[in-house]
Symmetry: C2
Subunit: 337 residues, 2 copies
Amino acid sequence: MPRVTIKEIARRAGVSQGAVSYALNNQPGVSEATRARVLKVAEELEWVPNRAARQLSAARSETFGLVLARTAETLTEEPFYMGFVGGVESVLSQKSYALALQVVADLDEELATYRKWSAERRVDGVIVVDLRVADPRIPLLRKLGLPAVLVADPELSDGMPCVWTDGTAAMNAALDHVASLGHRVVARVAGPPEYGDVWIRDRAYATAGRRLGLDVRVVHTDFSADEGAAATRDLLAAANRPTAIIYDNDLMAVAGLAVVHGLGSRSPEDVTLVAWDDSTLCRITHPRLTAMSHNIIGYGAEVTNRLLDLLNGARPQAHLYSTPLLIVRDSSGPPPV
Amino acid sequence: MPRVTIKEIARRAGVSQGAVSYALNNQPGVSEATRARVLKVAEELEWVPNRAARQLSAARSETFGLVLARTAETLTEEPFYMGFVGGVESVLSQKSYALALQVVADLDEELATYRKWSAERRVDGVIVVDLRVADPRIPLLRKLGLPAVLVADPELSDGMPCVWTDGTAAMNAALDHVASLGHRVVARVAGPPEYGDVWIRDRAYATAGRRLGLDVRVVHTDFSADEGAAATRDLLAAANRPTAIIYDNDLMAVAGLAVVHGLGSRSPEDVTLVAWDDSTLCRITHPRLTAMSHNIIGYGAEVTNRLLDLLNGARPQAHLYSTPLLIVRDSSGPPPV
């Protein structure tokens, strides 16, 4: 594609190249009629400012990077990521920044991606999700000097800039809710324990269970619908079965509800179900699911704004984005008598 | 971050710069012991080939672009996109290509994104989704000379390279299925009629309905769970209500099932439900949903491979990726007597 030049616009508009430059840069020195004519010609020719040239001098890629170390299957199932990406994009598109998205198999590939991006100066900074306990990405990002904002509790971020939601307060609210309904035997279908968010919820769940004098149990899964369904089936088949189940994501809660129905049981009459994240899924089941709700799109936007601030010289710090809010719906009720 | 140089690796490995170059480029001229030592030092120093320099000469960005003109809310709800992006990524990550993803409000912003990407040479090519009837993106992409593969039926692509699934055959299979169960009054909860895929399904649905002698009706929606639920409610409240409903996506089918349950009705005893796309959602409801199934991850991968082929000089053409396959599950049954 031939580039549209100032010279070509000047020729077509019948004015000098200087006049075109004034008009396009919105500077005084040309009449309004000339400015209008130049802008019209520029638009017809699909003219765009030569940002590539500006970029070379500014040494900025105007691109943020996001690596997701999950299988394509998990990403398809899990509503969280697309919402988060949508939130990131809602900020970047305003700034004319691009998002480089890379889906990789595991953390090793994620580390390799950061090395490559850094060496090739492909991104100005990265957003890091799914923090692990003692996450190996933190020392690498420090070594590379690659600006980063972690989506993680400050307990996990080792002093790196981070944006977080208060998982401990949320778990307290979830257990207070089921205890206040009268439930004494409660289970949680959790994500993998090596994920930092799950680790924080594990601790909060045990602590709140003791505080409330509940019989609490946990089954760890890989966050998938299949494992969520299997865990629910096992829990409901056990002696002294739980009358309330808290899930670490939406998808497993929806799968758990189907297991309840498949057993000929009902929610909330036989079992109270509480989901996490509160995507649309929780509102399109029957009964609609009680959930710990947070604004995932807003969360993605917040993280992106903090990374922009960081690149503009802001002091690295931890930002509490929100505390998830309990939304009580039809799947909550007292335990069966 | 200081760049790691050949000189620094040579110094640390205690060999000449020439030897480092031979070792790193996997050329003869150094012993295996030297090669191993050089590679070890290079790895310790986080050395990566200077692709940025190679890129400038090759004038390739090694980036593909994908614009999604949907709200962040819709993207969160709709499992299709994340699966498609996962499939695109599964190919790009093998090739060390990046994906530039942009979420925009509407087609005008999408057109502006292509202009910008083209002018700034940010992407080598683009993948275009959600084709409209007489889509304005086609003439723009031609004018810009930006390589593109459309995710669209050849009827919609105006001769541009495209990858498609056979919506007409799929709709025939869906209607044959419900007719063979004995249903005579059938409804379809469809997407927006300006979408090319919906337009093709609209035509196939009307034709197959006439062929089978069915009473067929259509309600167009915006693909959202809310409108899918509202359409289901209206259809089931009507006189001569349908005994089978076909949905244009999964999300609306799940929302429709909740409406059926909310009315105290059951599927398939009172109404047969057929979903489209067959994401995980269809397998985690109770009853599990019959669906037109296609491999969305594989579809994303196929489109990406065709765009790579195009950049490598392949002749532009239309590729039939697949015909969606009917997966019969528990939500299918004969009409109530």
